[in-house]
């Protein structure tokens, strides 16, 4: 995995759901094909200069491996980058893009025999859409069930593509729409009204009990949805090691209860070890950038996982850990953009 940016050309750019989202397809030149190989669920980081200010954003690749490199960007109200992409960019433009990475990924197995439940809402569908496609194409003995929440049918990303998949794989893919704002002017009725909550989850699990017994649960939605779905699954005795999730497009609360202390850190980055001071209240990432190191990072909100490293000595407090699974944390992994030291000496290793 490299964290260098490369210039890619936009091959296609088109609005989705009446302009509320934008799909961008990149051309990947031959010499970058290897670097830009991805797994379903991984994301790209874009670096854009807008009004003289550098912005970095991570967007999930919404195509399965083997297809064209594609992201789908939902507009955020007053969002600098999502609206810039929707309004200002065009086919042929060149964009700085970091190769794909991310730990929320589904690796297909040609002989794996699994039941995958996907719980998504809004633009959280993007990684799930890539995962569903890769299961259907590259994991032929497995099935996928999607429970998909949106406000309305019109605001539903990939609606036509998902319908086509359901038609193409009748025994292997099922689709359940959950919509919170039903239109009075349409006869269309989704599977359920409301949100992807505990009742909806229980109904889905008993409607399609798993045949293949290696069951995996994938969650990607905004705000508190991930935690809510996870809690609902655990209330049904789903073991946590079968639940995989990524927070998306919403606020995840930061735990700022611990202020952090000043420390000396020994940081191994790209094979070189640096000794540097961290001020009280400063994150590891901030300290490294202040020392003019070039550590990997992207979203700076704890969601993407680009900045992850392993603390081999000492202890930190993480304000947010959305990008890490419990098992990652057990291995000592931290998000440097969210970590403040709570002891005076640290050793940190980037892999």
């Amino acid at each position: 995995m490299t964290h260098n940016f490369h210039k890619l050309t936009i091959a296609e750019l088109q609005p989705e759901i009446d302009g509320a989202a934008t799909t961008v397809v990149f051309d990947v030149p031959q010499h970058l094909a290897e670097a830009f190989r991805w797994q379903a669920g991984q994301h790209l980081t874009l670096r854009l200069l807008i009004g003289g200010v550098e912005h970095r954003r991570s967007y999930t690749i919404s195509n399965p491996p083997g297809a064209r490199l594609r992201i789908t960007v939902k507009r955020v109200k007053k969002g600098v980058v999502s609206n810039h992409i929707g309004d200002m960019m065009a086919k042929g433009d060149s964009v700085e893009v970091m190769p794909p990475f991310g730990g929320f990924l589904l690796t297909p197995g040609p002989l794996a025999r699994r039941t995958h439940f996907f719980f998504g809402a809004g633009s959280g569908i993007t990684p799930l859409f890539a995962m569903i496609n890769t299961v259907l194409k590259d994991e032929p003995h497995s099935v996928a069930h999607l429970i998909y929440g949106n406000a309305t049918a019109k605001s539903t990303l990939f609606k036509d593509e998902l319908d086509a998949l359901e038609h193409e794989y009748p025994g292997r893919f099922s689709l359940r729409h959950v919509q919170s704002a039903l239109s009075m002017w349409s006869w269309y009725r989704p599977w359920r009204k409301g949100r992807v909550d505990a009742d909806v989850i229980q109904a889905a699990l008993s409607e399609v009990p798993p045949i293949a017994q290696d069951v995996q649960y994938w969650i990607c939605g905004p705000g508190s949805m991930n935690a809510d779905v996870k809690a609902a699954l655990m209330a049904q005795d789903v073991p946590t090691d079968r639940i995989h999730m990524e927070n998306f497009g919403g606020i995840t609360e930061q735990d700022t209860s611990v202020e952090g202390c000043s420390a000396t850190a020994q940081i191994t980055l790209n094979g070189t070890t640096h000794q540097l001071p961290i001020a009280a209240g400063q994150t590891l990432l901030e300290a490294m950038r202040a020392a003019e190191l070039s550590p990997p990072f992207s979203c700076q909100s704890g969601v993407c996982g680009a900045c992850r490293a392993v603390v081999t000595n000492g202890e930190v407090h993480m304000r947010n850990r959305a990008a890490l699974e419990d098992s990652d944390i057990a291995r000592g992994e931290v998000l440097t953009c969210q970590s403040v030291p709570i002891v005076n000496e640290l050793k940190v290793q980037f892999t």
Binding site: S206, I211, A212
Partner: protein
């Protein structure tokens, strides 16, 4: 010199040593049929099954996923649960009431503080997991919690097993039975896959199918077999089927595979049958039969029964005419192909101890027998392993 029965020593069919090694090397290392999916219908229900040396139980959690565990209390090894049942949230060993949740975690040790004054680490004393999966409406278990998937095990043979969807059929309870055969389990398997005997032992009981046109072969250790209806039966097939069809009309014939080790299926245009072989001793084998038929109304069954009655009225009979029969119970006059097979297996086993036994050459239609013996050898590895 060791006396041989084709590829295997005759001893493989008679000795306790071979039996024990097969239990270890074959039945404890492969996926084992445990029941039909509907045997564990709801959260909290469980069943148990013997898989070689391992007793394994299967329980459904509230998430509708099955869990399998070795049926051994981590305290003194007592079998935890009985054969079949339903629980709410926990499994308690009868001996000292150690209690596990449905994830296998040890959640309660009675009198913990006084009996274990130095403490006891319940986290390390969970039930040992096994693997479980469902395929073609059947539950399978594997003693190893991380075995190769059922797709890896049955994937290649799957396409040769017929278009049946057992999960959509209904069990016919009257056909469920279990009996013992006084013969080694491999004798029973060999009888099941012997193509040559169909025209002879069953000359008067299975001739609705055309044995001369049978197609059969192997995918790994699994045997597959298909044969078309005979001319007489096939002429008015839709009328002659005794019960309503269970597969689309473009498919005809009988699919009679033998999945390793010892799981026979027998599926036709109108039924789906299980023939589960369990070795009990070197010369004793248990068979369990289950049958599934169309999910159709009793009126449709009556209608099809009436339509087909003319064909079946004149069909079949004993292999031996009545004047050759020993008595009224002679299997050779029964007109029942199962009775004929049991008789043949037991008569063969009787001779295996004779010093004058010498096995003749295998016929073309017996090639599945020698191939099955090879599969046994492959699993047994080097003697003494």
């Amino acid at each position: 010199m060791e006396k041989m029965y084709h590829n295997l020593p005759v001893e493989a069919y008679t000795s306790q040593d071979w039996f024990d090694r097969e239990q270890r090397q074959i039945f404890s290392r492969t996926w084992r049929y445990a029941g039909l999916a509907e045997d564990v219908p709801e959260p909290g229900h469980y069943i148990s099954v013997q898989a070689g040396l391992n007793n394994i139980f299967i329980v459904m959690g509230r998430d509708h996923r099955l869990r399998a565990f070795h049926n051994i209390c981590r305290h003194r090894g007592t079998q935890l649960i009985r054969a079949v049942g339903k629980t709410q949230k926990a499994l308690t060993c009868p001996y000292h009431d150690w209690t596990y949740d449905l994830e296998g975690n040890l959640i309660s040790v009675p009198d913990e503080a006084t009996e274990y004054p130095d403490g006891i680490d319940k986290k390390c004393l969970g039930l040992k997991p096994a693997a479980v999966d469902i395929w073609r409406g059947m539950i399978f278990v594997h003693p190893d919690p991380n075995p190769p998937s059922l797709a890896a095990w049955f994937g290649e043979v799957d396409a040769h097993l017929g278009p049946h969807k057992p999960e959509e059929l209904l069990e016919y309870p009257e056909a469920r039975n279990s009996y013992e055969i006084k013969a080694n389990w491999k004798i029973v398997v060999e009888n099941y896959i012997d193509v040559y005997h169909l025209r002879h032992l069953h000359s008067n009981t299975l001739h609705m199918y055309d044995h001369a046109r049978a197609e059969y072969g192997w995918k790994g250790p699994h045997y597959h077999f298909w044969e078309p209806p005979s001319a007489d039966y096939g002429k008015d097939l839709e009328q002659n089927l005794p019960t309503p069809r269970v597969i689309p009309a473009l498919h005809v014939g009988a699919w009679v595979p033998m999945l390793f080790p010892g799981l026979g299926l027998g599926a036709s245009e109108d039924s789906w049958n299980l023939f589960v072989i369990t070795p009990l001793a070197p010369d004793l084998t248990r068979i369990e039969n289950r049958t599934k038929l169309a999910n159709a109304s009793s009126w449709e069954f009556s209608k099809q029964g009436m339509r087909s009655s003319r064909f079946w009225a004149d069909f079949g009979g004993g292999k031996y005419a009545e004047h050759d029969a020993r008595d009224a119970d002679d299997p050779m006059a029964s007109g029942d192909f199962t009775a004929e097979d049991i008789y043949a297996c037991e008569q063969q086993q009787k001779s295996l101890h004779s010093p004058y036994l010498e096995i003749g050459p295998a016929a073309t239609g017996e090639s599945p027998i020698t191939r099955h013996q090879q599969a046994i050898l492959d699993f047994m590895g080097e003697p003494g392993e």
